[in-house]
Every structure is written in C-alpha cells, then in structure tokens.
C-alpha cells in the first residue's frame, strides 16, 4: 500500500525492488570491504552505489539499529533484508554480511594460534593489541565530539564509563538502570 501512511514520510514502503541475489551480493561486499569497521561502507554501498534506500530512509533505519542492542550494521542488515525480501531476505542479508569476515577471521586466527609461541609474533601482537585499544578510545572520542553533547549526555556518558571502565560493574545492571534514566533526562532537557 504505497502512500497509505503519510505520517511516515521518511519510511515509505520500499519503492525499489531488490532481488535475493542482489541482496546477498550487496551485503557480501559490505562484509568483505569493511576493514576497520563496516558502518561507513554499508552506507556507501546501500545508498550511493546501489541506491537501495534514500539517504533519509537509510538514516532512519540506522537510527533504529543504533538504539537496539547488537551491531548497528547487523541490525540494519536484518531490517533492510526483511524490507526487500521478507524473513528470508533478513536471513540472506545476515548470512552474507557474516560469511566472509568469519572466513577471514578463522584464517587469521589459525595462523596466529600456530605461530603464537614465536617471540616475534607475540611482540607484534602485543603492539597490535595496544593500538586496537587506542582505536576503540579514538572512536569513542570522535563519536563524543560529533554528538555535540548536552549536559545530561555528558553526565550519563561519564557515569556509564566509570561504572564499567573503572568500577567494573556488570554491564546488564548498568544498562538496565542507566538507559531509562538517560532517555528521561534527555527528554526533560529538551523540553526545558
């Protein structure tokens, strides 16, 4: 029923037909080229290269993916796959996204396990681990900068950081307590 829900301008029913084969190949590509994070590549392939979704449609699907648990790109694959080809489409998109990274990962990991005992491998791995920690820290700082955070955003971000990073509280308890409080605070702050 295209056009029947005018209240959802940014989420119209899929105007574009995307076949199962196309869906598989598209997400396969996103998985393979996504070295150092799949999110930017997902946008490039889905919006720019294949025009499956408009920029707005993509942003709102990604927005839903971001507030749900689980990897954003995986959530996006589930929702986009379902939109184009129903339940089977969701399964196809997820399988396509995960196949190549898992294969590459297993190849790298079995090489590592075979050679982990070599001192050269151990020290290169130590350096990579130190850098990987920096990669995650840098990503968080960049996200914080782009958010242009409000006072409550800074407060809840810091509390989450201290609770998990310093006090090492269990994650489930922290999220269950902080999430509703932070959403409520953000809503109040906007109204004020």
């Amino acid at each position: 029923m295209p056009g029947s829900d005018a209240s959802a301008p940014s989420l119209p029913h899929a105007a574009k037909r995307v076949g199962r084969g196309e869906l598989f190949l598209g997400f396969l590509k996103i998985g393979v080229i996504g070295f150092g994070g799949v999110a930017p590549w997902a946008r490039r392939v889905i919006v720019e290269e294949r025009a499956w979704l408009s920029e707005e449609e993509y942003a709102s699907l990604l927005g839903v993916g971001q507030i749900l648990p689980g990897p954003n790109t995986l959530n996006l694959a589930v929702m986009a796959g379902d939109r184009f080809q129903g339940t089977l489409g969701a399964l196809i998109a997820v399988a396509a996204l995960m196949t190549m990274p898992l294969a590459i990962l297993m190849a790298v990991a079995s090489l590592y396990e075979r050679f982990a005992a070599l001192p050269e491998v151990a020290s290169a791995m130590g350096g990579t681990a130190a850098a990987a920690a920096g990669l995650v820290i840098g990503t968080a700082l960049k996200m914080a900068q782009r958010l242009r955070p409000t006072r409550s955003a800074i407060l809840f971000g810091l509390v989450a950081f201290v609770a998990i990073g310093v006090l090492r509280f269990p994650l489930i308890a922290v999220v269950v307590v902080l999430a509703p409080l932070s959403i409520a605070a953000a809503a109040l702050e906007r109204r004020a």
């Binding site: 959802a8 749900l68 950081f161």
Partner: protein, 180 residues
Amino acid sequence: MKPAPLWQIAGTFASLSLVAIGGANAVVPDLQRQVVQVLGWMNDTTFASLFAIAQAAPGPNVLIVSLIGWHVAGLAGLAVATLAMILPSSVLAFGAGRVVRRLAGVRAIRAAQRGLVPITVGLILASGVVMATTADHAALSVLLTAGTALYVFVSDWNPLWALSIAAAVSLLGSWLGLPA
C-alpha cells in the same frame, strides 16, 4: 585445555546480546570479566590478542565473540558463540523494524537515541580504556595506544594502517630490547 561446554558458551553470550547497545565494542569489559575472571577460559594476554585480531579483521566487531568461542571450543564453539550473540538482538531488530515501519515512531526513535547514544559512547570508551590497561605494560605500548587513539580521532584514514604500524614498531622495539 579441555573445551568449555557449549551450553555455557551459549548462556554467556546470549545474556550479553540484548544489552550490547552500540555493538560488541560496548561489551568488551564485561566479556573480559566473564571470560577471564569468572570462567577462567583464558588469560589477559590471550584475550588481548583475540581482541586485536577481531579489531584488525573486516566485518562487524561482534567477531570477538566468534573468536572466543573458537578458542575455547573449536568450530562448534565459534558457531554457538556467534549465534548466541547475534540471534537475540537480530530477532529484536526484526520485530522492531516491522513495528517502526507501521507506526512511524520516528520521533520516539530520536528521543531514545538522544538518551542511549551517550551511554554507548561511555561504554565504548570504557572498553578502550580497559583494553589499554590489559594490553599496555610499558611506555612503548602506552605510546602506541595514545598514538592510535589520536590517529583515529583526527583522521578519517583506514585504522588498519595504525594497527600495522603499531605491530611493526613493537617488533622493532623488541629487537632493540625495549620492554613491551
């Protein structure tokens, strides 16, 4: 080492699946707490190595969980860990995608986003800091962590470059006899 029971792998990761807002990078400290401290499946050094491999490999960062599964119980462990981590959150995304399509909850989504994204950022920062304290044992590794963080923060270049340079610098450091 005898393999960890599959039901225990499934339970551990399935319980984290639904709180991993922002993806697996948000749950790394809790993963480490459970896998190293509570369950004793591996030591800190091995955990740091698996974390590094998962960061360097292409694909969603949930792959750290696949690697842990593989390390403790082989191919079956990899399959069980990956499914346990992605199935609950994917089913939720599937349902949410259909509800959103019908209800046009765009404004509610924005409101939830405003509250949740700051928590995600805090959790990811915590993951980075916890992994830094795990991986950094000397001045050189602290420098590599800080340098990579700066590289990612100021540039949009592929992070794989920074990871490769860090591996090379660390190797060079060990040849020169620097503590790492």
